[in-house]
């Protein structure tokens, strides 16, 4: 896979008072992701070409992809195809990369969402809203042992979800 085809579109950096190993565990273990990733459970074969799936609490397949880079506890990259929104399944998969830097008493976690095609800003909005919530919740979980209180994050996100579906309909499929 030619990773240079993927251009970074959304980057989020957070510093967490923990160890790189704890961050790696939290990113790759289903019992931990369900605590901070909107209740979603990750299933991942942590090796290059390994399968990766994210499941919603009710068993709906959320995201599907493959492990591209697996360098524990420093770097993890997976291809990422959104499955739970019908309009988005046909889009070329994107790439999500986690870089974990050990700075002594603190870890710098950098999440980069990269895309192979030019995308409408409306289609990037889901990730730009969601990643800060997910990664701040991960930080709270690792620093305090519990995630943040459950709050109604979707209360003002309904309109942007509709706009994202509408924009996704304009792209042709990539099958074949």
């Amino acid at each position: 896979m030619d990773l240079t085809l993927f251009k970074p579109k959304t980057v989020y950096v957070t510093y967490i008072a923990t160890t790189p190993e704890e961050v790696w565990q939290a990113l790759t273990t289903g019992d931990l992701t369900r605590k901070y990733f909107f209740g979603r459970r990750i299933e991942m074969e942590t090796k290059p070409d390994g399968a990766f799936r994210l499941w919603q609490p009710d068993g709906t397949l959320d995201v599907e992809g493959k492990v591209v880079i697996c360098d524990p506890p420093r770097k993890l990259a997976v291809t990422w195809r959104v499955m739970w929104i019908e309009e988005m399944r046909k889009l070329p998969e994107c790439l999500v990369t986690y870089q974990i830097d050990d700075l002594g008493k603190v870890v710098r976690l950098t999440m980069t969402e990269s895309h192979q095609i030019e995308l409408d800003d409306k289609m990037l909005e889901g990730g730009r809203r969601g990643w800060p919530v997910i990664l701040n919740n991960l930080k709270t979980l690792l620093e305090t042992g519990e995630p943040m209180p459950d709050f109604d994050f979707m209360s003002d996100a309904k309109q942007s979800l509709d706009e994202m579906k509408e924009a996704a309909r304009k792209y042709p499929g990539d099958e074949g």
Binding site: V13, T14, Y15, I16, A17, L103, G104, K105, V106, P132, V133, N136, N137, K139, T140, E143, T144, M148, P149, D150, F151, D152, F153, S155
Partner: protein, 156 residues
């Protein structure tokens, strides 16, 4: 056409708008998460705000908007650099917006969304890349301080 650079960072913190406001405006808090920097002002629109670091004034700026505990904005003009070109760069602007989400259950406290927008940079700003590196560390440490009572101990 080139557009001037703009930095936006969103963080979510398990706290209240009032506690977050205090952490942004009380030097007792700022010294803990802002690399030892004390932010001093009466926090009224038009008032002076200074950043003090080891007894030196490293910013001398003006409060642009202040609506506790939801909105704060001030000019941003670092003075601590040797490089004359950096010191001569026009002041930029930083804005803090605070929004509260109530918890889904009555036993749990609220979650506060803090959006930091840093803009009004010149096209070829030398300061812009530095603030892009700086804010995530400062704001991560602010979150840790509010949620655990202790800021992050950075070693750099």
């Amino acid at each position: 056409m080139q557009t001037p650079p703009k930095f936006v960072y969103v963080t979510l913190i398990a706290t209240t708008p009032e506690k977050l406001w205090a952490a942004l405006t009380d030097p007792k808090f700022t010294v803990q998460y802002w690399g030892g920097t004390s932010l001093e002002s009466d926090w009224k629109p038009g008032s002076r705000i200074v950043f003090r670091w080891r007894d030196k004034i490293v910013h001398d700026d003006t409060i642009l908007k202040s609506e506790p505990p939801r909105l704060l904005s001030y000019s941003f003009h670092p003075l601590q650099f040797e490089d004359e070109a950096i010191r001569a760069e026009q002041p930029s602007r930083v804005t803090f917006e605070i929004e509260e989400f109530t918890g889904k259950s009555a036993q749990q406290g609220p979650v506060v969304k803090l959006t930091v927008t840093h803009d009004e940079f010149p096209l070829e700003s030398k300061i812009f890349p530095m603030i892009c590196n700086g804010w995530p560390g400062i704001l991560s440490s602010l979150k840790t301080l509010l949620e655990t009572g202790r800021a992050i101990e950075f070693e750099w």
